[in-house]
């Protein structure tokens, strides 16, 4: 059977692609729900904004850790 499709290149790129799925969904949820909350209750803007910021920081941190994870695991895996 002949090869139908093959992937060549660096595996860490796939790893970062997978690591970016979760934070992508998370950031979408945070901003979507945050905007909805502000629209429902504009007077609670300060509180909602503070919590949106906290959630965004925590989620973005995951995405950025995914970015450096290949460098961290470099000397453990292939070597």
């Amino acid at each position: 059977m002949s090869v139908l499709a093959e992937v060549s290149g660096n595996v860490t790129a796939i790893g970062y692609g997978l690591a970016a799925i979760g934070p992508g969904i998370g950031v979408g949820i945070i901003f979507g729900q945050g905007v909805q909350a502000i629209a429902r209750q504009p007077e609670a803007y300060g509180l909602i904004r503070q919590n949106m910021l906290l959630g965004f920081v925590l989620t973005e941190a995951l995405a950025l850790i995914g970015l450096v994870a290949p460098f961290i695991f470099q000397n453990i895996g292939a070597a």
Partner: protein, 71 residues
């Protein structure tokens, strides 16, 4: 300055400022403390300080943004 700062039309600007500075602050924290850890690893011949530095940098960067913009 503080009277102008609290006007509602400045809220949007503040918010955008905060959200745009999150990724660059986290990246900067990771670069500085991860870099320090990496140098320590090279110096001592270990491989523990680089991950510790990366996580510490992310935490410090996030703390900085949260304290600066989240009142």
């Amino acid at each position: 300055m503080s009277a102008q700062e609290r006007r509602p039309e400045n809220d949007g600007r503040d918010f955008a400022d905060a959200m745009w500075s999150v990724p660059s602050s986290l990246l900067a924290g990771m670069a500085i403390y991860g870099g320090l850890g990496w140098l320590l690893d090279r110096w001592l011949g270990m491989s523990a300080f680089f991950p510790i530095g990366v996580v510490l940098g992310v935490v410090l960067g996030g703390y900085l943004v949260y304290r600066k913009f989240g009142r």
